[in-house]
Symmetry: C2
Amino acid sequence: MASAKPAAHDVVAIGNAIVDVLAHADESFLASHGMDKGIMTLVDAERAEAIYQAMGPGVECSGGSAANTAAVIASLGGKPAYIGKVKDDLLGTVFSHDIEKAGVSFACALSGNGASTARCLILVTGDGERTMNTYLGACRELTAADIDEALIADARVVYLEGYLWDEPAAKEAMLKACRAARAAGREVALSLSDPFCVNRHRAEFQALVKNEVDILFANEDEAIALFESADFERAVESIRPHVAVAAITRGSKGCAVISGWEAQMVAPDPVAEVVDTTGAGDAFAAGFLRAYTQGLPLAVCGRLGNLAAGSIITHFGARPERPLADLYARATA
Amino acid sequence: MASAKPAAHDVVAIGNAIVDVLAHADESFLASHGMDKGIMTLVDAERAEAIYQAMGPGVECSGGSAANTAAVIASLGGKPAYIGKVKDDLLGTVFSHDIEKAGVSFACALSGNGASTARCLILVTGDGERTMNTYLGACRELTAADIDEALIADARVVYLEGYLWDEPAAKEAMLKACRAARAAGREVALSLSDPFCVNRHRAEFQALVKNEVDILFANEDEAIALFESADFERAVESIRPHVAVAAITRGSKGCAVISGWEAQMVAPDPVAEVVDTTGAGDAFAAGFLRAYTQGLPLAVCGRLGNLAAGSIITHFGARPERPLADLYARATA
């Protein structure tokens, strides 16, 4: 349970600050451009440009995994802050406008030079699945200097996205944030982000989970990948001893919330129509943390996570189209 | 009926090339910022910046009235081209990418210097109504030199948006396009765009309709404003003698299609839920022209206009989220 100490923020989220470009695509587009469906792939500027030239008409909106989580927490009535790096260019201005106007304290200076603001080219197939190509740009300039220890100390939970681990300087920033949270008696949450991200950094992620993390977010594939478990049940047994809480999403089956010897399966409410799964995991973490930071029971945290994820997948894009405060009321009724 | 001569394009649309920034807002936001609900207002760079700072998180997508029409024509299976001015900056790149990838021939060079690409800050209220604030930027650099007479001559219809009339140089461009179409035995279509736009340029619009226009698009308010008629019926009588066809949209009542002494009221199909009316009129014109350029009966043109408008208002934004070819099949079945 989150610290009872008063806090200026419920959650400080740290992640790659990205503007999404979403377009519809069919399966043959993914195949002919050598993309792995459902996966986030890092691309360089040249490949990003080639994909953009090939993809259909797009919609631009602010994204970034942990930033989406922060925006959904605010939409659910919580008090989030966010640390992530953009450049002082048009997309950087869009990103910082959108996150502040979503009700999130944006706590990171815009960089005046260097690479341009990150973008993620997202192809959404007919089944609502998203395939992501990320050009990190300015995100690669996030360093430990961007971590405000006082901000971390004054938030109930610091939430880190696993994607940060792809950059050595960002990794240092994450570890500094973990230390600051620990020193202040706060909790550390981590999202494993992506099974391929777990595969890239398995040993380091295992150490992080064992030594630093209180609350672990993962989907089934990521949970299995972490300790290379044979199946979901064994993944749960491997993770259980190391964290206070693990919240594992299972797609249309809802989520499993594990804490000590307790394990609760929380079924989802029905979802009308899945339009675009972009941001489902981010929204789940937001719903969970919104309830968790209020000291609510874990079953309620899981339920609000399911409700937030179920809401975000009914429309294009990963940020709420309307305030989600009614979901909080529903989960806590 | 459109010329039977073969043509490379069904429609060449000419208009202000704009990237939209859409955000939700409540009525009090409009009031406190002195905005007239449902209206397009031209703003300078300073006012645009102030509105952007005040408005909520946004979604960026390509817009522009005639550009939306061209995109919907392509989505319905037609062959459109588009002339409009953007700068060679990030939003200009986004605009030209989106319109080309929508299946529209983009026939206007990007300007290398001068004002930045135009943007329209659109506030969408809970009832789905949109209130628009347009910073014209690079659009103001559209001149007669941008009108390719051979392109006009090789399209069944040239389609002009009334908004262009706000700029003297663009006005010259429109008149050049009219002359080129006439010389090639093609037809000229005009959208009145906005009742306030009609009020700003009434005498000139009347002359344009009398002397140049074959197909007039308007909503009820615009039709009434054109000759300052007392009511809709009298507006129809005033317009009837001057154009071959007038297609007048009447919101949830569908449309009236007037040609000579014929007048047909075409009721709309039911619409599930109105999310955002941005682009409804643009999509109506697209549906109408898609059928019209195939020589289909006017009732079918009106029906396809209604179907296209009914589709576009069920989601956020003015461009189709999916191909609309099934609507063409439905209207022509």
